[in-house]
Symmetry: C2
Subunit: 343 residues, 2 copies
Amino acid sequence: MATGINRRWMLKQRPQRLPGPECYEWREEPVPRAGENEVVIRNLYMSLDPAIRGWMDDRPSYLPPIPLGGVMRATTIGKVLESRCAGFERGDIVQGLNGWEDYSVSQGRGFTARVPVHPGLPLTDFLSVLGTTGLSAYFGLLEVARPRAGETVLVTGAAGAVGSIVGQLARRAGCRAVGVAGSDEKCAWLERECGYDATINYRTRANDLVAAIRAACPDGVDIQFENVGGGILEAGLECLNKRGRVLLCGLISQYNAGGDVRGIRNLWQLIAKTARIEGFLVRDWLDRWAEAAAELAKLVAAGELHHREHIERGLEHAPETFLRLFDGNHQGKLIVDIAGNEA
Amino acid sequence: MATGINRRWMLKQRPQRLPGPECYEWREEPVPRAGENEVVIRNLYMSLDPAIRGWMDDRPSYLPPIPLGGVMRATTIGKVLESRCAGFERGDIVQGLNGWEDYSVSQGRGFTARVPVHPGLPLTDFLSVLGTTGLSAYFGLLEVARPRAGETVLVTGAAGAVGSIVGQLARRAGCRAVGVAGSDEKCAWLERECGYDATINYRTRANDLVAAIRAACPDGVDIQFENVGGGILEAGLECLNKRGRVLLCGLISQYNAGGDVRGIRNLWQLIAKTARIEGFLVRDWLDRWAEAAAELAKLVAAGELHHREHIERGLEHAPETFLRLFDGNHQGKLIVDIAGNEA
């Protein structure tokens, strides 16, 4: 598709709410060359994650904002086209934090790493169940929230790329897994494929969410794996048990709220239950990613860990595809196929 | 004062916001007699704490609500008048969760315990620096938030009965202690008497609280000991360091807000900093109260731990006195002297 040119999506203006087409600029530039200690990567697939929306805002966070006029940021999987960097050779398959573009230049440090070979697993798995979303489920649940057998784990955004894995890992840890998702189809998939013990459609139960959670969690909630925030987080806090843990992985309901972020009004529940809310970033566990991915890969290869990917073809459609994250109109990990048959 | 009668404040109706006189009913009843396994306590002093406001609401919490028509609940110190309970004798000085009344009947279990003898320390110390407020500071800071030397501890409600002790314990742990309080007089007292390194008057700095905290905490905030909630909590979250800990001890700004509780809108900060908010109840540490009180008593006796008490005379004024907690019109631990010279 793109041979002599590098197609790129640049950040043109910062979104107030949902990032519309006015936020992006399409550019076609020459394919870059590698400088000293650099590699040029032909991006094959790119991961669209809620975190990207945060990087579009102009506020300090765990990563600097995407600069205005700079290329949009995403995790990609690609093939090394040219290397002037020790440890990387032409043809290597690598993943890293790169751009919404055909070709990225990287120093080969930090977030660029060779993708380990797992025969039989498709490359895209390394952007989903074996990528940051699968690893968020793994470290967030197992290392931070630390479930004990017999506990109840409530997962919000349960049909998302993180949530669908969390429930399965919770079940493997001997817990009751209860998922909150946005459609009956998603709920059915969670129960049928992912083994969730119970699910709640937050759209049809919006008016009695606390009652729905109480009914699905008769022994209360020990761990809330939170991907959504807002009213769903508040409802969960009401149902927490003594010493409950809320693992705060994401707040997707808030990212496009502009100034109208829904505040959490019942933090008193944390006192009444001596419970806690703990923020989580998978980046903090970088030194153990390979180990965890290998463990998850075994489960995937054995057919014991289910996930689904929603792959949209075409870098040119990336801005519209990105919006699917926020209206729930996708099933599984959202990925853009940049290179098509070239891969 | 009260000899043959038991003067009592009963809960007549639940408050919507600030508890006005319409919430209480004054009764005069005969002095109760001890049933089997009971003691009758002549209450001498009673502690007025923000927690009481929560018990007036009709919602489940760590203690059941005060029933409508039931006596108002408070921690008291009193003298055993009659005992039919093993382990207690007439004349024993005891503390426990009793009522806004001259005489309380107790089973002598749980929250009724003999007050240890510390010659030279006034009885009221056992409702303040050696009572639940001092112990909240002790366990919340030292056992839950766990300060390390060199860290910065931001204390909200710093001039309160809990906060004033927290800063001093933080300093003893080698930390920088920064207090947020509601008047210049309180700030001056915190710096002069309690050794706070810096203070912020949240009333005069309401419009630039984040800037004020940043200026007072040049290395950021590692521990936020939260007694207030609302905008002060939000401002502190902006200033948290990586892996910061918010010890949630109280939310006094919210207790009288009725339906207008100010929601916390920046929980994203917990993710960006992989920080946590942890709820705290001193009740959870009951089995170590005596040990901690003994340690604090040594510091008090040595003049190394400062506190102040605001003692108002007269059970009959308790409803008005209670309101001082919420308008800041008190200096130090708020205590009602029930028995006057009788003590």
